[in-house]
Amino acid sequence: MRARPGAAVLAVLALLSLASLTPAAFAAEPRPSLTQLEEEVMCPVCGTLLQLAEAPQAQRQKAFISRLIDEGRSKEQIKDALVAEYGEEVLALPEGSGFNLSAYLVPIVAFLLAAVALAVGVVRWRRAGDQDRPSGGNRPGGPTGADSERLDADLARYDL
């Protein structure tokens, strides 16, 4: 039986691609740590971040998280499990959907409204400044009406 060179090349390429993919797949889902999760979830009884809580309930919650980490659960899976136990309020940062989305949208909308209000204010202020200037086109520091009349008279004397 003769080996086909094309098939061998394909097999080698397939092995190489697998070898290059596997570490990447592991890198995409790093193992979460208790410290990391403590910064992202709340102690429902204490009303503080879990990392700041030492209450008995917080100790049980930390033990629960550690157990799920040991079972190889991802961060999102652990958060889902915590939400199933304690409800959405256990998350320090609300989910970006439903009513919780307002937690992210309200500051953005408030910033945009403030920017628009500032822009309108600046435009009005500049217009008001233009209206307050004396009529006749005199600018501060420029020639007055008397200066202009004297200039006209001087030029008339030097009729070229």
Binding site: A55, Q57, Q59, R60, F64, A84, Y86, G87, E89
Partner: protein, 163 residues
């Protein structure tokens, strides 16, 4: 500006509930059962006296109180009275282990996010509310209820009125 005022008002209103007083209708939220699946509510026991007991497995006074409640349930539990446990802000597994450890036979509901505890205006666990057959709160004990309180304060209110 309007949005800021609106948020402040919402915050005040949402935190304005200071709980319930004697004679108030007892809240009847539908909650998952701690064991066995499905849901349950205080409303399921309308027509009975119910001692609603908020507890959690991590709460030390709850551990001191549980045996007294179980004894009281064994003495008085039936068609006219029951203790109803509500495991609040607790892990399901821990709550089930607690029930097993103390051999609790009265019904148990789960209040994982503490919403039911907020409805009752509890400030911690344990807290006990005696609800009459019409669904009104007749007795309120903040903190652990003792065997003596059960015998001298709760039992006389129950049909038969004896300890």
């Amino acid at each position: 500006m309007l949005a800021v005022v609106g948020l402040l008002v919402f915050g005040l209103v949402s935190k304005g509930s200071s709980g319930i007083a004697l004679g108030d209708p007892a809240p009847e939220p539908v909650l998952p059962r701690l064991e066995g699946g499905g849901t349950g509510s205080l409303a399921d026991y309308r027509g009975r006296w119910v001692l609603v007991n908020f507890w959690a497995s991590w709460c030390i006074p709850c551990r001191e109180e549980a045996p007294a409640l179980e004894r009281f349930q064994r003495q008085h539990g039936g068609p006219k009275f029951t203790v109803l446990g509500i495991d609040s802000r607790d892990l399901t597994g821990d709550g089930r282990a607690f029930v097993e450890e103390y051999g609790l036979t009265y019904p148990q509901l789960r209040d994982g996010d503490g919403a039911a505890a907020r409805d009752y205006g509890t400030t911690g666990v344990p807290e006990n509310f005696l609800v009459d057959p019409a669904g009104k709160v007749r007795l309120l004990v903040r903190g652990p209820i003792t065997e003596e309180q059960l015998r001298e304060t709760v039992a006389p209110l129950l049909p038969g009125g004896s300890s």
